[in-house]
Amino acid sequence: MDQLEKHSYDVLIIGAGGSGLRAAIAAHEAGLRVAIICKSLFGKAHTVMAEGGVAAAMGNRNPHDNWRVHFRDTMRGGKFLNNWRMAELHAKESPDRVWELETYGALFDRTKDGKISQRNFGGHEYPRLAHVGDRTGLELIRTMQQKIVSLQQDDARRAGMPSGAHDGRLKVFAELTVTELLLTPSGAVSGAFGYWRETGRFVVFKAPAVIIATGGIGKSFKVTSNSWECTGDGMGLALRAGSTLLNMEFVQFHPTGMVWPPSVKGILVTEGVRGDGGVLRNSEGKRFMFDYVPDVFRAQYAETEDEADRWYDDPDHNKRTPDLLPRDEVARAINAEVKAGRGSPHGGVFLDIASRLPKDEILRRLPSMTHQFKELADVDITAEPMEVGPTCHYVMGGIEVDADTAAAARVPGLFSCGEAAGGMHGSNRLGGNSLSDLLVFGRRAGEGAAAYVKALQGSYPVVPQVQVNECMQTALAPLERADGESPYVVHQELQQVMNDLVGIIRRADEIQHALDVLEKLNERSRHLAASGPRDFNPGWHLALDLRNMLLIAECIARAALLREESRGGHTRDDYPAMSEEWRKVNLICSLSADGRSVEVVKQEMPPMRGDLMALFSVEELKKYFTPEELQHLPAEDRTDVERKVEVS
């Protein structure tokens, strides 16, 4: 065994995307020593891919907007399966989090009176998404990256250095993968074990609090908008550490991913295209979304093309276009059109902005989309329609956390935020709500972890050497096997089975089949072999990541099999309706006793607070809740003043 590199910090943050960086800022501001672990280079996290914007009810474009409206939209989008406390905190705090970014140096697009401009997006009643063209995620990550540097410069000044940065209290470990969390005998967090991707050398971090901010799981699916990093590492770590995952069956398929050429299949086409006037058409040129407005949304969406078109300029007197229905609805509609033989030549549908906006305007509003299609598909979106289709984009499920502190279930010292954490988005996430989620709960996780660490009053747990030795053996195993399975092959088969059998439309027999296949893949994954040395060896890296991907895939499949209804990002062909009974139920996934498999159990959701219930009309609540859940509602609470204002 080689020499171990060891570090000791107060808070260890795994993941340097938006939520991880925001958590780091918060923990550092609380006065703690913080390490950020980054699987790729600093500033490359998947957050850069977010395009449309960050949702925050600042009311800059429409003064009627406020947190209550945002809360309602979020709950509706998630079909009332959201952790309502998270949705409440999120709606209340996101404006402050966005304004804060400006003090870090972010430059959002502006309104005429110099405020932050906000754009329309699917499921949001008012223009709500603060944005920078169509590269908002990049702005977010760069802003926080630069804020981290700024804090390091402050530390340098405090340390008496004339210039430059000091990273003694806030350090970024780039290109390092964590393979296991380390625990005390009582099951609390004591640190983490990982390896430098560049050298393959092992590192042990000692830390009483760990924040998991590792993002999503998209790489378990074949067609995905996610990068190689999104392998569900954090969820795997949490499971193996004894924590639980929530509602993993809810996977969002973004309705508009590129479909051609094959090598770019899945790359995201921002919802901003539709927010700015783009419309979906089938091969007959028909705007088919008008045929797919579900009953629960009937009241909020336009019925004719004329009204939909008027809405862009006069949203107060017209209803919005169904092209901007929540993502799950649009993805299913596209799926249905393609199945009915009305798809585009490469198996998608058409997204047309060229005939809707002048060329200059498209170039101004959607520069990176224009660039992406020009460079990757030879399509000029200012002149011709794009071809788009659903792509695996986001997982609503994730680590089960406490809404206020972001503490993960069952493991003291473990926290989680961002896409890795579950609950906030219910069964379906609205566009723009992920970037605000990162900021709101990133900060809360940082503060939650800081409070936890301070309460320990310096009695930090120790790292048991025996655990470290085990971690090393597990990590080195693929390199030591002379011949075994190729991780690339196993990965491809995993992606294929998830895409085909646990994808956008699901059926019991198919999911069962997928579970059988997964079991075999699981078995094969115990014999993975990676050739070559330890330094920057992608085959080896993939072999280690596969453990997490397989575990998470099983969670998704088991939960999907159990939930016998269709809701948001979980559509069962054999149970096409939404069920009031299932609305009350969270599915909780944990590692089985032998550690080789996962178990999924039902858990009742705590009832929503009365004042939050009162934000909805009884008519609407009836569509989601059981009569027993509604019987305690006082009749008058349901028509609050605000609703009247909006309708007028």
Binding site: K44, M49, T103, G114, E198, S227, P262, I267, H371
Partner: protein, 247 residues
Amino acid sequence: MAQGHFRVWRGNAEGGDLVDYDVEVNEGEVVLDVIHRLQATQAGDLAVRWNCKAGKCGSCSAEINGRPRLMCMTRMSVFAPGETVTVTPMRTFPVMKDLVTDVSYNYAKAQEVPAFAPPPGLAPGEYRMAQEDVARSQEFRKCIECFLCQNVCHVIRDHEENKQAYSGPRFLMRIAELDMHPLDSLDRKRSAQDDHGLGYCNITKCCTEVCPEGIKITDNGLIPLKERVVDRKFDPLGVLKQKLTRR
């Protein structure tokens, strides 16, 4: 489906060489797809950095037939049929393994640029900026930090010894961005010249030529910054005016 001929630099800091591969190439693919196929079929340990594969993260920078480019944005159709495609790591930075280089120089330089200094007394939510005032800096914030501009800049590409004194186009542009930020409260002109080596730039524009985001680094960033430095340091009238107004 066709057969492509690739030459990829394999090695590490101790040494290495170009290695030949024959590999399948399909319609619509980019260079990174082919590199991935090499990994999956012939060279499982071929090191390459990549993330988004959509030209948004700036990870997969390399040199393709000698030209600094993103592998994910270089379509195979730009090469003539039968043309050998040579892929090498960025030259300006120390190599770690194969196509992966040590780009820590850039992160060190980033730490030397003083951060945005918000105006004192302005609370969050009170920021008011006109679109025309943020537009210039917004162009520079499109930067995805692929470091191709840093790699191509001859000041450090051909002269390792200049790395100390010169921050490179990416970070000079960052200084320009902050100096043009409507609410930044620092004056960064003198330091651009004295601490970050703006004078080394001889505006030969290779940074602009290779920028995958199409940022006009030279015309909109470095030259305007040079002119701002002239105001402070070289223009006798400007210096005089500065002295008078400071009183």
